[in-house]
Symmetry: C2
Subunit: 211 residues, 2 copies
């Protein structure tokens, strides 16, 4: 094994080629993805090399159009991880007026979470609810972020306009996603345990790139 | 489906509980992971909810000990993605004297890459080689970063001391990983297409947390 196995591909062509491979393999597997959702699902596969997402990503009715309209009108993104914030194309988002927020590293959030015996994600969502701007939530890590949003909704305190629900993990992740799959909040959610900050960022970027 | 399905777990217990579930499921699947490697492999599964990593993560001889000794002695981390840089516990790393570098967003890197018709990752690795400190490379995105390191090694310009090789994707990813699997550079590499910035960060953090 040496450099002979490395194929020369122009830097500008790598992403295009990757999407062609993904498209072909999805076809070979017989997986049909609606045209509107394909750019999002394919970008998630591009970022994970995991074709399982073709089966588990769930979109509420008109989710793509609703989210893109929000972004076009300047919606902000709130995420529960600094990694997702780092991965989101903030420059492109800013051309529509949007900003990305993550409150997880705020010292006051950590302090309040400790005092109340809740996660920082729980407090972060409460902070987001006070922002008073249209928000797309992009949850890539903490199921407690989804639970916090759901509880505020149940109590009539706050209602999220759009939820990208892709926390990853083993404790309450599946159940937290189900809360929103059963709600009437527009969503893009990955059923099951998988997800992550990279997936959250990929979904936001796919929405923005399609504008 | 409602809040009844949400289990109450103390925030401080969530990670511990997650690792218990991962350990049990690995046992149930009959997957044996050497004790030394288990904290790294399990943290990768924790960050991805993808048990396939138990089969595909490859460690060179004594990889964990070599990497941890380097960190203890103040090695720096160079990564090819800002997301991985955001995800690495820089505070803990700094207690040993280490810093994290990512040159991908440098304008001069972008400029040089464009002029030469190579990727920013290629140029970023060349910049890293000039740092003149012991480095653990944590490559979570670009196979061209691995190829760049390999080419410098072949030319006798630079030899990486340790490579975490977990780029993700469809173009040259498998072949770029093979270059290092066949070399005598100490490594932690995920065979195949999977990986990512979240995986790179998880591996670095597992190394640091074990010190």
């Amino acid at each position: 094994m040496n450099m002979e196995n490395i194929e020369f591909v122009l830097p500008s062509e790598i992403e295009k080629r990757s999407f062609e491979i993904i498209t072909k393999e999805l076809e070979d597997m017989g997986k049909i993805i609606p045209d509107e959702e394909a750019p999002v699902t394919k970008r998630v596969i591009h970022t994970s090399a995991d074709f399982e997402y073709a089966d588990t990503l769930a979109y509420s009715e008109n989710a793509i159009k609703i989210a893109r309209d929000m972004i076009k009108n300047g919606a902000h993104i709130v995420t529960d991880t600094n990694m997702a914030m780092a991965g989101i194309n903030k420059k492109r988002l800013a051309t529509y007026g949007g900003e990305v927020h993550c409150f997880m590293a705020d010292e006051s959030v950590a302090k309040e979470a400790k005092e109340r015996g809740v996660t920082r994600a729980t407090v972060s969502m409460e902070r987001a609810a006070e922002l008073n701007v249209p928000i797309i939530f992009a949850i890539g890590n903490a199921p407690t972020a989804l639970i916090s949003l759901y509880e505020m909704m149940e109590k009539g305190i706050y209602r999220p306009e759009f939820v990208i629900g892709v926390p990853v993990g083993f404790v309450n992740v599946v159940a937290a996603k189900e809360l929103f799959l059963q709600s009437d909040v527009p969503y893009i959610i990955n059923r099951g345990r998988k997800g992550g900050s990279n997936i959250a960022a990929a979904i936001v970027n796919a929405l923005v790139y399609g504008l």
